[in-house]
């Protein structure tokens, strides 16, 4: 009975890694997070309710693991190595310098957001969850998702606008 969930887990892996990257600000930290979350999930598969969204369940475990971790290490927010963020686009086809700079700006802006806003933004804007689904993952009311998103976006747009306009 857990076989299909394991298969689903493999299939979900790229998205889980992306989400963990977005909330932790680093691919390595993100992968550690995904590993921890997978171990947790597999040790309590009986708690997963068939018929509910498996991806949402995993996002929730990842987010909770991240919160645990930041509490433990007392990190406030995410540290992005600015040099790394500026240089690395992980082989993605962002050929132009201004393109890379803009993506680096976005990563830095994301890292500067408060934890709860960052998670909401990652779930909705990157993972494409509905407000209701994001609310379920974060265990908060839909209205709270809406206001967190709006605040996160206002800050992001502020930071991104000069870069976007500058490149145009």
């Amino acid at each position: 009975m857990t076989d299909h969930l394991r298969r689903d887990l493999i299939g979900l892996m790229p998205r889980l890694r992306r989400f963990a990257y977005a909330i932790s600000g680093s691919m390595d930290k993100g992968d550690d997070l995904v590993q921890t979350a997978c171990e947790k999930a597999l040790s309590r598969l009986d708690q997963f309710q068939e018929g509910t969204r498996f991806d949402s369940w995993m996002f929730r475990i990842i987010q909770n693991s991240w919160i645990d971790e930041t509490r433990r290490t007392r990190t406030r927010g995410v540290q992005i190595d600015p040099e790394l963020a500026a240089l690395s686009d992980h082989g993605k086809g962002a050929r132009l310098a201004e393109d890379r700079m803009m993506l680096a700006t976005v990563r830095a802006a994301m890292a500067a957001l408060p934890e709860d806003q960052r998670a909401a933004l990652a779930l909705v804007a990157i993972e494409g969850l509905s407000y209701k689904e994001a609310a379920d993952v974060l265990d908060i009311p839909v209205g709270t998702v809406m206001s967190r998103l709006s605040r996160a976006r206002a800050r992001l747009a502020e930071l991104v606008r000069p870069a976007a306009r500058g490149a145009a």
């Binding site: 086809g93 804007a125 809406m146 747009a157 145009a168």
Partner: protein, 256 residues
């Protein structure tokens, strides 16, 4: 007219308002350039956000994670399963203009196109759409005319010509073929012109349904005033199509 909160504009971008509210906000945007600009900023940041963190979508799954998920010991000496991993696209963004299909819109029409919640199984490429990533971007940016770029779901994008418009921008004509059964195929032809930063803006898009193909050629995609690719080329002041060598050189130089 009344003020519309940033929260509502943000929900508009996500298509999270009721149909009536979506219409109301869309009408409001037509007469409120500042809010319209804000909505465009949100859409731009969304598209950039998706690209900023999409590296894991394109890489193989690290062995340690595959091992954990499949219940093997992390450092067990085990051959990779060889099966490629399925990439689950978020349904709302399952379109073609971006990494997970996220379309970046510039015109109000394109904003409205983004606003819809359900992903139709056809290609919906609206005029004014900014293409920043994804298979369509890859086709525009890297494929010589005649070569297809195939999306994960089987949709194909085939550039057919490259030319300069009256403003000196590089533009390309692309044929888009929807995935799925051959009988239900929708072909869409579009013209996109390259702007700064590697962004392509769709200047015209026309759909061609097989049933309507005889005699008339392309028909407008959405009942608009567009009158086919020929008219769009005229409107752009399109020059002669580049020869394959010149096109290849442009692609090799990254369109500079």
């Amino acid at each position: 007219m009344e003020n519309i909160s940033k929260e509502t504009l943000s929900a508009f971008v996500d298509g999270e308002l009721s149909p009536d509210e979506m219409d109301r906000v869309a009408a409001h945007l037509e007469t409120h350039p500042e809010d319209h600009a804000y909505v465009q900023d949100l859409i731009l940041s969304n598209a950039l956000l998706a690209r900023a963190f999409d590296a894991p979508m394109e890489q193989p799954i690290p062995e340690r994670l595959r091992a954990v998920a499949s219940g093997e010991r992390a450092n067990a000496d085990h051959a990779p399963s060889g099966q490629s991993s399925v990439i689950a696209f978020p349904r709302r963004f399952a379109r073609y203009a971006a990494p997970a299909g996220l379309a970046l819109a510039a015109s109000l029409a394109a904003v409205l196109f983004l606003g819809g919640r359900d992903a139709a199984p056809t290609l919906s490429i609206a005029e004014g759409l900014l293409v920043v990533d994804g298979p369509l971007h890859a086709a525009l940016e890297t494929r010589p005319s005649g070569a297809a770029e195939t999306a994960a779901d089987g949709a194909r994008f085939i550039p057919s010509a490259t030319f300069a418009d009256a403003a000196g921008r590089h533009c390309r004509e692309v044929e888009a073929v929807a995935p799925g059964a051959a009988s239900a195929r929708v072909v869409e032809a579009l013209i996109a012109c390259r702007e700064d930063g590697g962004v392509w803006r769709v200047a015209a898009a026309v759909a061609e349904h097989p049933a309507q193909r005889q005699g008339e050629g392309f028909v407008p995609a959405s009942g608009g005033a567009a009158s086919g690719i020929g008219a769009a080329l005229d409107a752009l002041g399109a020059g002669m199509a580049l020869d394959p060598d010149a096109e290849a050189a442009l692609i090799a130089r990254g369109w500079n």
